[in-house]
Amino acid sequence: MTDAVAILANGVVYGSIYGLVAIGMTLIYGTLRILDMSQGSMVMVGGYVGWWALATHGVNAVLALVAAFVFTFALGTATELVSVQPLIARRNEVDFELVTFITTFAVAIFLTNVALQHFGPFQQNVPTIVSGNLKLYHGVSISYHELTMAVISVVLMIGLGLFLARTRWGLAVRAVAQDLDAARSLAVPVTRLYPLTMGLASALAGVGGVFLGALYFASPTAGDLPLLFALIVVVLGGLGSLTGTLYAAYLVGMTQSFCEVEIGTTWTLPILYGAILAILVFRPYGLKGSPSEARL
């Protein structure tokens, strides 16, 4: 019983982490059809901004989050401008999804190593946003910091969903994903929308990075593991579906939590990647894509 509660509690924590990181990837893939491999780096950068603001300048938590949002927003926008924008015009000539997969990955390599040169290899401690623990059951507890993360990741997902469903710009973002030409002919400024969307997604990852920093620390490679997990979540969630991502994040979190207790920590990632493999092998049409395209 205690185990079950603990597994659940851990699953919620992990799920929130993965949700926070994957949400931006989902937004970008769902709207722009780009599997943005630089999202992990945005988590890393967010962590450093959090460290800089909270640990070295002692600003309050809200300001730190705002700073991380602004900085990673700018960085995400810049990332789009160098790695995606030049390719939009050639959308039909190149394999857009794959080429942007590689270019954003190149950005990730670049950012990681710039961070390494600038900050050095050490990990830095990012203070928690909220302190204290909530006692759950027989000594099982969950920290308020982690609870805040869980709440924020759900709120962000709902908020993002509302933004996409209810606002003019939200609609435009979705429209661009579905028919680029039609959107352009309706005066949607695609050349600005792409960078803004990537900026927004990166900013979400950056905010996530501040939270993660308190658990994982800030370091040049702090984005690698979140990225690997986010990939799992995004694929499981059906690539581009916000609600799917939310479910998948908690499913992955629970699976990981369960594996750690019942099977062993070392087998978590192979099991999760094995699950992805199995899904792609056995239900290739279950996710997206029509059989006629896939058969060839």
Binding site: R90, I109, T112, L231, L239, L277, L280, L296
Partner: protein, 335 residues
């Protein structure tokens, strides 16, 4: 008009012959063990890249599982070298190639049912699973992250210079053979079918080509060569660590291929050589190696889509188009 099956002109043959001859005598006049070590390591990477290019560039399947296939070649050949020491080392390497080829074919079946980004995700997941399982070192088969236990290698009794020289030649032989094989395959029935499938899958199927069969064959051949490369790495370096499957080598290799030009015979050659030289030059600036790598990859993919070979190819094509235009003019006006 000639048949244009990539006929090689006598002049070109002569240049190839000169290049091969130069490559062959090179280690006789050059001994520096440091650069020889780099060159031999580069040769092994080149073999891997040639194999990857075959499936990535020629067959047009975005397979990110190649490093895992390479690792399986190393582990399986190492298993023979270590536990069945009666088996000659070359046979063990060959076994690694065959094992990898078979795994690659098995990987091909689910992969080829998918398209686009899903292909990459499936193969990437495959690579991740293999890597993590290898790190977990089940039954001591892989040596985990510390590396495969020392194996005798091809030339256990040679001194350093001779050892490096011998490996240089072995690898160069494999490279030359696989370059010719790839060049030949490119113009072979299979190669033409593969390129056609890559260019226009539905059309090609409607002309009688079985796209799946052609691509499975490509996976098999590519996996075989990757396995050989893995076996050579293990036998040359006498160890193999799981970090060889990590994201850094993967991005390095992809960069080499993209820079050189995907789907061409000389692309991997140029890309591998160029990046090896850059890396070597930057050895005193450790952090910069990967920073430069990321930036280069980005610039090439965005601004030079065909890589260096593609750049030459475009110029060449422009000239050819120019000639074709003349041919048009020589025709009677249409209508």
């Amino acid at each position: 008009m000639t048949g244009t099956f990539g006929a090689v002109t006598p002049g070109r043959w002569a240049m190839i012959a000169v290049a091969v001859a130069l490559a062959a005598v090179f280690p006789l006049v050059y001994h520096d063990p440091y650069y020889m070590t780099i060159i031999v390591t580069g040769e092994i990477v080149l073999i891997l890249n040639i194999s990857w290019n075959f499936v990535l560039g020629m067959a047009g399947v975005w397979n990110f599982g190649q490093l895992a296939i390479y690792a399986l070649g190393a582990y399986s050949s190492g298993w023979l070298m270590l536990h069945h020491s009666g088996v000659p080392v070359p046979l063990a390497i060959l076994f690694g190639g065959l094992f990898s080829g078979v795994v690659s074919v098995l990987l091909a079946f689910p992969t080829l049912r998918l398209f686009g980004i899903y292909t990459s995700l499936l193969t990437f997941s495959f690579a991740q699973v293999i890597q993590y399982v290898a790190v977990n070192n089940p039954h001591g088969l892989t040596g985990g992250s510390f590396g495969f236990p020392e194996v005798p290698g091809l030339f256990p009794d040679l001194g350093q210079t001779a050892y490096l020289r011998a490996y240089y030649w072995v690898c160069a032989g494999v490279i030359i053979a696989s370059c010719f094989a790839v060049a030949w395959l490119r113009q072979s029935h299979l190669g033409i079918a593969l390129r056609s499938v890559r260019d226009a899958p539905a059309y090609t199927a409607a002309r009688g080509v079985n796209p799946r069969a052609a691509r499975v064959a490509a996976f098999g051949l590519s996996g075989f060569l990757a396995g050989i490369a893995g076996g050579l790495y293990l036998s040359f370096e006498q160890s193999f660590t799981t970090s060889q499957m990590g994201l850094t080598p993967m991005s390095l290799d992809v960069t080499m291929l993209v820079i050189g030009g995907l789907g061409t015979v000389s692309g991997p050659l140029i890309g591998t050589a160029l990046l090896t030289v850059i890396q070597t030059k930057l050895i005193n600036y450790p952090g910069w190696q990967l920073t430069v790598l990321g930036a280069t990859l980005l610039v090439i993919v965005v601004f030079v889509p065909g890589g260096i070979v593609g750049l030459f190819g475009r110029i060449d094509r422009r000239v050819r188009g120019w000639v074709a235009e003349d041919a048009d003019e020589a025709e009677p006006a249409p209508g």
